[in-house]
Symmetry: C2
Subunit: 267 residues, 2 copies
Amino acid sequence: MSAAAATAAQLAQAREARAAYRAGAVAPTSGVAHGLVQANLIALPADWAFETLLFAQRNPKPMPVLEVLEAGRVESRLAPGSDVRTDIPAYRVWRDGELADETTDASAAWEEHPDLVAFLIGCSFTFEAGLVDDGIPIRHREHDRNVPMYRTSTACAPAGRLHGELVVSMRPIPASRVADAVTISGRFPAVHGAPVHIGDPGSLGIADLSAPEFGDPPVMQDGDVPVFWACGVTPQAAIMASRPPFAVTHAPGHMFVTDVPDAAYAL
Amino acid sequence: MSAAAATAAQLAQAREARAAYRAGAVAPTSGVAHGLVQANLIALPADWAFETLLFAQRNPKPMPVLEVLEAGRVESRLAPGSDVRTDIPAYRVWRDGELADETTDASAAWEEHPDLVAFLIGCSFTFEAGLVDDGIPIRHREHDRNVPMYRTSTACAPAGRLHGELVVSMRPIPASRVADAVTISGRFPAVHGAPVHIGDPGSLGIADLSAPEFGDPPVMQDGDVPVFWACGVTPQAAIMASRPPFAVTHAPGHMFVTDVPDAAYAL
């Protein structure tokens, strides 16, 4: 991470947003504090911490670790004054790999499991900002939809009890801009980086591009190529597959907004 | 890691070298199987594994993790058929942070602690090959010496019980080639990457460049600038500072030779 600094206006937006979420506001965070990094949350009991970090180390494209908050820590270094138990707009609580609850405040989860270790994982919003800034169309934003996400037939490298399949997000990119999209996203290896797959959904095990497992169906235009990036939903898929006794994650699209500019993670 | 493949000649050299070390041969590995990745070894009891991986995650420049072998595993995926207990020319055994033994075979250490988790960490030999291939002089090689290494006044980010100071290696680079050395080593973030410091040893807390803590005194030529890279000895310094009850490392300069080409880790 470089020492790039956020602007005062960006910081004010990020802090205002976190304060609102802490007070109970619920909204997707796409577009909030443009140019600042947002993060996925996965928190597991301490007994699972090594395997979770190892699973991330072995699968760095879907699980780029930005920060680890050990048991007892709730303030992220990426956002001084923050509290990861309250400052995300919506949380999901998982029991034995099943979604048990969705809540705007995870304090009770932390009270139930004070040994939770929280992992903040990079988010594709970072390179999307780079694509937008370079004039590459983001179809799901143009149509005010959520990005389509798919399970694949590609297994992640397992780590102890943790295993699962790679989840990818897909953005249709005009053929003439695919190389630019690779270059731009490739500058951000800490937030999924370059695509994992370009074209031919079938060889990823995706039978029907119009039926994503998560998010909304895609809008393809003539001449668009489907481009697939490793997705931060992968660890949630691993929770479903591996069934740890307890876990807390953010709700999809409701991310942790940090004070750190995207540029801090650029090569 | 990309899918770049080693040549048959390189693989033969690497396998022959590992077989010789397994049979008892002892020699520094600099120059062995040119173009293939070599790795530092740190192995700690399972109880320390999360903190070790977290220490690496927080200090990726000195501790770029190439692979983790969980308790019970001794074969590296980076070198099929290998055994990390025997295939390194020389090992160091640490007790309570003190060097207790140096040996050519760590099998007894693994028998004493079958729960050892082994971490293979990137090594600067990888980017040195890149510098040499680009015609940048490596003074310590020209004079057949070990690279000079220094403790600094820069603390690593701690992780639980693990803490310690950053150790750097130094290579004098002609002023006209410093930018090239930055660019070339920067292509290999998985093996220390770009320098952490260029010029002015004093601001790193290095009082006397001619008196390194590890390795041999440097040979500077007129017009050379001291360039400092994060060093794989940093985790050994952390063992000395943090005093875990038991640890095994390679002996400096006696690395684990893999089957993986340097190019696999290039951006």
